[in-house]
């Protein structure tokens, strides 16, 4: 039958003859999960948005004060003008006091000097698409830029934590013995300190900034992944295929990372996406407390920190913008993780 079909189109026979790879089977299962597909699409939209903000095409001018302070969203219309009390003009006749005014001779000179500097009065928008913050920056641009920061911190932290956890877990699970004991001890040390205290201790030392927040979260968050990777390596290291690889002379490193690692990579991927969500939430809290990203950056956490005082004055839009972006991304990402887990490890389905 395959001879009849044009070359390049996989025939049914050859499909069946080769057993399906884990990833292909997972993709097949994922496509059937409608909620999963929707969440993947939403996450992809966010990825595009982040790529656009990171390359400066969108929201690069989030720091510009384009509107009046706390400009309301466009659909609400401009804020009613505040009542101003104008001081009454003095009634008496104008008296020339230049004879006694010690500054009088210099007025002319100052006026000339001032004329050298041109100031362009920027017309400030009365309303902005989704409102402005207290200095008149566009909340929508801030939210998009903040999405980039928050997601980047979460992703970078999760990737570093995954690398640490995978390497240590692989070493502990594969070798056991002294190395295993030492790593177990390290694990016990890290897990005996409550997470938040460990994060704060690291925060004191590393200071602020996007990179250090990601690093702090990674150094605290690797333990769960380590534990799982270790268990998987422990299980796999005595399996036949690994022994066979050893028999044909595969080196230790090759057995660990070329043979076992691909077989446990789905576990790692699921764990990593769980870490992303957790780290994003931690970043928001750290930034709120002033221990997160630097003052020149904007993230969902810094937006929420500003929103707290704005809310009392009735300016709710920054809070809503940050919350909406965060809720949409985190929900989509969590659902994607669930779908991913169901697709990659069908045994776990329905447990949660």
């Amino acid at each position: 039958m395959s001879a009849v079909l044009p070359v390049g189109v996989p025939s049914l026979d050859s499909e069946l003859a080769r057993s399906e790879t884990v990833w292909r089977a997972a993709w097949r299962r994922l496509r059937r999960d409608r909620l999963g597909v929707v969440s993947v699409v939403i996450v992809l939209i966010f990825v595009v948005l982040i790529a656009l903000t990171a390359s400066g095409i969108v929201a690069s001018g989030w720091q510009r004060e384009v509107g009046v302070p706390s400009a309301p969203p466009t659909f609400l219309g401009p804020a009613p003008p505040a009542e101003q009390s104008v001081a009454a003009a003095p009634a008496g006749p104008r008296v020339d006091i230049s004879a006694v005014d010690p500054l009088a001779p210099r007025y002319q000179e100052w006026a000339e000097r001032a004329a050298k500097y041109k100031t362009v009065e920027q017309p400030k928008a009365q309303t902005l698409p989704f409102g402005g913050d207290r200095v008149g920056r566009d909340v929508l641009a801030k939210a998009m830029k903040g999405t980039q920061t928050s997601v980047f911190v979460g992703l970078l932290g999760a990737i570093v934590a995954t690398v640490i956890g995978t390497i240590l877990g692989a070493l502990a699970g594969f070798f056991g013995g002294r190395i295993g004991d030492f790593l177990e001890w390290l694990y016990a040390v890290f897990t005996s300190i409550p997470d938040i205290l460990l994060i704060l201790s690291f925060a004191v030392i590393f200071g602020r900034g996007i990179g250090s927040v990601a690093m702090i979260l990674a150094l605290v968050g690797w333990t769960g992944l380590y534990r799982q990777v270790r268990a998987e390596f422990l299980k796999h290291s005595t399996r036949d295929y690994v022994r066979a690889a050893e028999a044909v002379g595969a080196s230790t490193g090759s057995r660990m990372f070329r043979h076992i690692l691909p077989n446990v990579s789905h576990v790692i991927l699921v764990r990593m996406s769980l870490l992303v969500v957790g780290f994003i939430k931690f970043e928001v809290i750290l930034s709120y407390l002033g221990l997160g990203v630097g003052v020149d950056d904007v993230s969902w956490g810094t937006m929420l920190a500003e929103a707290q005082s704005e809310l009392i004055l009735g300016y709710w839009w920054q809070l809503v913008a940050a919350t909406a972006f965060m809720a949409l991304f985190v929900t989509a990402f969590s659902l994607m993780t669930d779908a991913l887990r169901d697709a990659l490890d069908p045994k776990l389905r329905g447990l949660e």
């Binding site: 300190i193 004191v204 809310l311 919350t323 949660e352």
Partner: protein
């Protein structure tokens, strides 16, 4: 049992030593110079040098480590650099406020989540089950921060049901006036993930053969659920509560910062902002020790809940 206890306590020693070493070298290697932090910005070099000598910072690192270890063993945590208050006194005065807030949260959380989780697991797949799962996914996606900001604004500021923030010296006033709002918000937020987790535990138990056997021999559902399933599900639930216990000592620092509750959590944040190393170091070591002891207590509790558990 006694042998088990002694062995477990003995096992704590190397881990605790690890925590101490981690904290010591972390701050030694990456933290700023304590003498300069202490002396302030306008200090003369002589002052800095004097402080350095006083703290033993001129000594080699192993002497410093010895001084540090001695402090821990003798429960002498030193003094806060910022306020010169002794760290032991700081713990003693801040802990009650934290517990006043955190204990009600833990108790209410468990008491509310348990029946809901049981009901949801029992009616697995029903509308109520799915609704609760969806709500909990959605609720989890927004930062806790948003709930406190909005909750404080709505209930404290707009409706005026509770004071926006505050604290008093009387436990009763605190419990009646200042605690309800933070506790209510924390429980509302915590209930969803808690229910989700406990539901998993119940589902796990409901799938076992003994449940089918009990039903087959005509036992009524109430007995099956409360005498058999609940008792078995208590093991993972207790583990979970045990894991949450050390957390109540740090408190929800976010709640404490937000509602100006003078507890340990707020003190930690203050210490972090002031680079107050002794407070952070002591609290870290102290809580790590507490965590390990609580884990031990939970393991012993298993034995009481489930006689099949063999402690070894």
């Amino acid at each position: 049992m006694t042998a088990y206890l002694i062995r477990r306590l003995w096992q704590i020693v190397p881990t605790l030593l690890g925590v101490v070493l981690l904290v010591f070298f972390l701050f030694k290697a990456f933290g700023g110079d304590p003498a300069e932090v202490l002396a302030g910005l306008n200090a003369s070099p002589q002052t800095v040098e004097a402080i350095r000598t006083q703290l033993g910072l001129n000594q080699p690192w192993y002497v410093q480590l010895y001084i540090y270890l001695k402090g821990i063993v003798t429960f002498d945590w030193g003094r806060s650099w910022a306020t010169n208050e002794s760290v032991a006194h700081l713990f003693a005065t801040r802990l009650p406020a934290t517990l006043t807030v955190m204990l009600p949260i833990l108790i209410l959380d468990t008491l509310v989540a348990l029946p809901i989780a049981m009901w949801v697991a029992y009616r697995r797949g029903s509308l109520g089950d799915r609704a609760i799962m969806i709500v909990s996914t959605l609720a989890l996606s927004v930062s806790f921060l948003v709930y406190i900001i909005v909750g404080q604004y709505v209930f404290g500021f707009e409706l005026g049901w509770f004071p926006v923030q505050g604290w008093s010296d009387s436990v009763v006033t605190n419990l009646v006036t200042y605690v309800p709002l933070p506790v209510m918000l924390a429980v509302l937020v915590g209930i969803a993930p808690q229910t989700r987790l406990y539901r998993t535990f119940f589902l796990d138990e409901l799938g076992h053969d003994y449940v089918r056997t009990a039903r087959a021999k005509g036992m009524n559902e109430r007995t099956v659920l409360f005498r058999h399933v609940l008792r078995n599900a208590m093991v993972p639930i207790l583990t979970n509560i045990g894991l949450a216990l050390p957390g109540i000592f740090v408190g929800s620092f976010l709640i404490e910062v937000f509602f100006s509750i003078p507890g340990l959590g707020r003190e930690v944040i203050l210490a972090v902002n002031r680079n107050d190393y002794p407070v952070i170091q002591a609290l870290t070591v102290y809580l790590a020790m507490l965590t390990m002891l609580i884990n031990l207590a939970v393991d012993i509790l298993y034995k009481l809940v489930d006689p099949r558990v063999v402690l070894k």
